[in-house]
């Protein structure tokens, strides 16, 4: 129970920090927007092509944005020298990770929801009919991205060249998330939509495995 209350307190802190400046959210939204527009310039898809490739490009944009957005997650604590006090304040360091990854998932989801209408308009893909399933895929995918990303940003924050290192560590690790969520989204946004439950289950399994690994090894990531 201490874990839950600690997590709740830390999550409130993460959200408060972000909503005071809204730095992360603004930059991420703009970044995804820029990438989506550039993609469309680079390939100028027809309606059929955008149905086929659009969701993959959206997920790629999300992954790129996440690998930048997750940078400050532990860097900020390090710059302000607050990591050791955080560690002292909670009984289980997993609470720190849990709070950060929930916050990151929420930030990602907010940006995705803000981006979705623009994506639908730019790529001519109606997203409303399958919105609930799409949101489920976005949630499970973003959760996976945040779990792996939070863990790896704790690693990269302690190295040199950290800004470049995080995408290099994170993006290959997220290959399964990209493959599965892009495929599931493509079949959801098809003219004859299909819900690929196997893919959705796979995303949940990915989240579960990495959450368990983080729970087991998280405390070592924060060792001084």
């Amino acid at each position: 129970m201490a874990l839950l209350s600690n997590t709740a307190t830390l999550l409130a802190k993460e959200l408060r920090t972000e909503f005071r400046s809204r730095e992360l959210l603004t930059t991420t939204v703009v970044f995804i927007l820029v990438v989506l527009i550039l993609f469309s310039f680079a390939i100028s898809p027809t309606t059929e092509e955008s149905r086929e490739f659009g969701p993959g490009l959206l997920w790629l944009a999300i992954l790129f944005a996440a690998s930048l957005m997750l940078q400050p997650c532990f860097l900020r604590e390090q710059a302000n020298d607050t990591l050791s006090s955080l560690r002292l304040a909670v009984s289980d360091p997993f609470a720190i990770f849990l709070a950060k990854l929930i916050a990151n998932t929420l930030f990602l989801l907010v940006t995705e929801i803000l981006m979705l209408p623009l994506f639908a308009a730019f790529y001519n893909i109606p997203v409303l009919p399958q919105l609930h399933y799409l949101l489920l895929v976005l949630f499970l995918g973003s959760l996976g991205v945040s779990i792996a990303g939070t863990a790896l940003s704790a690693i990269s924050a302690q190295a040199r060249m950290r800004e470049l290192l995080l995408p290099l560590l994170l993006l290959p690790l997220l290959t399964p998330v990209l493959v599965v969520s892009a495929t599931v989204s493509v079949s959801l946004l098809d003219r004859e939509p299909v819900v690929q439950w196997k893919g959705i289950a796979f995303l949940a399994i990915f989240d579960f495995i990495f959450l368990t690994a983080l729970w087991l090894f998280g405390e070592y990531l924060l060792e001084e």
Binding site: A148, I155, A159, R160, L173, V179, F210, A213, F217
Partner: protein, 225 residues
């Protein structure tokens, strides 16, 4: 020292013997012809690389648990040797694929997951080069190694279930299924030789890593005085 030389010479001689077996002992495959002979080398190196990276994963776990620098040395050693094996696999594969399939590369489950595996261990070594302090480097890279290894089956199955358009190549369907008995013997001889050769590289690289550590220690002592 003597033992190491004997081991090294034996490993190299066995690699030569394996090459001889591949070219002259194994019968020529009916449809693919000569080029199929690269299979023995290609698949055996892949197996050796996978074993080595598994040892790397175990060493990473042991380091996190025991904090003995020996496991860190073993970890980096196996990552490097494993990476060399995977590189060889990624080079020999297309050499074989081009005449047989007509293409250098296909985004098939096995090819893609091997490539992602290669990328992950490149990142692992990159991470190591970017952390100065030895204890921190050892711990953080061990943790990344564990995450990376956990990812490999997920990559494999995600691509196998959602991205493979063609059925997997027939030649390696099941270990040695449909292989001629001589081919089978040659293949497993290659597997043995490649494992032995990887073990030789691991021993040498491990000793080098240990010496590096000792020099580092001496240097620090000298600076402290």
């Amino acid at each position: 020292m003597g033992k190491r030389i004997v081991f090294g010479v034996a490993a190299v001689l066995l690699v030569v013997a394996a090459a001889y077996a591949n070219f002259f002992v194994a019968p020529t495959e009916r449809t693919m012809g000569l080029i199929q002979r690269i299979f023995y080398f290609h698949a055996a190196t892949a197996w050796a690389g996978e074993t080595t990276l598994f040892v790397c994963f175990v060493a990473n776990l042991l380091y996190i648990w025991k904090r003995n620098p020996k496991y860190d040395w073993l970890g980096v050693t196996c990552a490097e040797v494993g990476l060399v094996c995977i590189t060889v696999v990624l080079i020999t594969g297309p050499i074989w694929a081009h005449p047989v399939w007509g293409i250098w590369w296909t985004w098939d489950a096995r090819l893609t997951s091997t490539f992602v595996l290669w990328l992950l261990y490149i990142s692992y070594l990159l991470l190591r080069s970017l952390i100065e302090e030895p204890d921190r480097r050892a711990l953080l890279s061990a943790l990344f190694g564990v995450f990376a290894f956990l990812d490999v089956p997920l990559v494999f199955f995600s691509i196998r279930w959602w991205r493979t358009q063609h059925p997997a190549p027939v030649i390696m369907g099941g270990s040695g299924s449909g292989l001629d008995p001589t081919m089978n013997r040659v293949f497993f001889f290659n597997v043995f030789v490649m494992h032995l050769f990887a073990a030789f590289l691991i021993v040498e690289r491990y000793i080098l890593e240990k010496m590096r550590h000792d020099v580092d220690l001496l240097q620090r002592e000298a600076e402290a005085q």
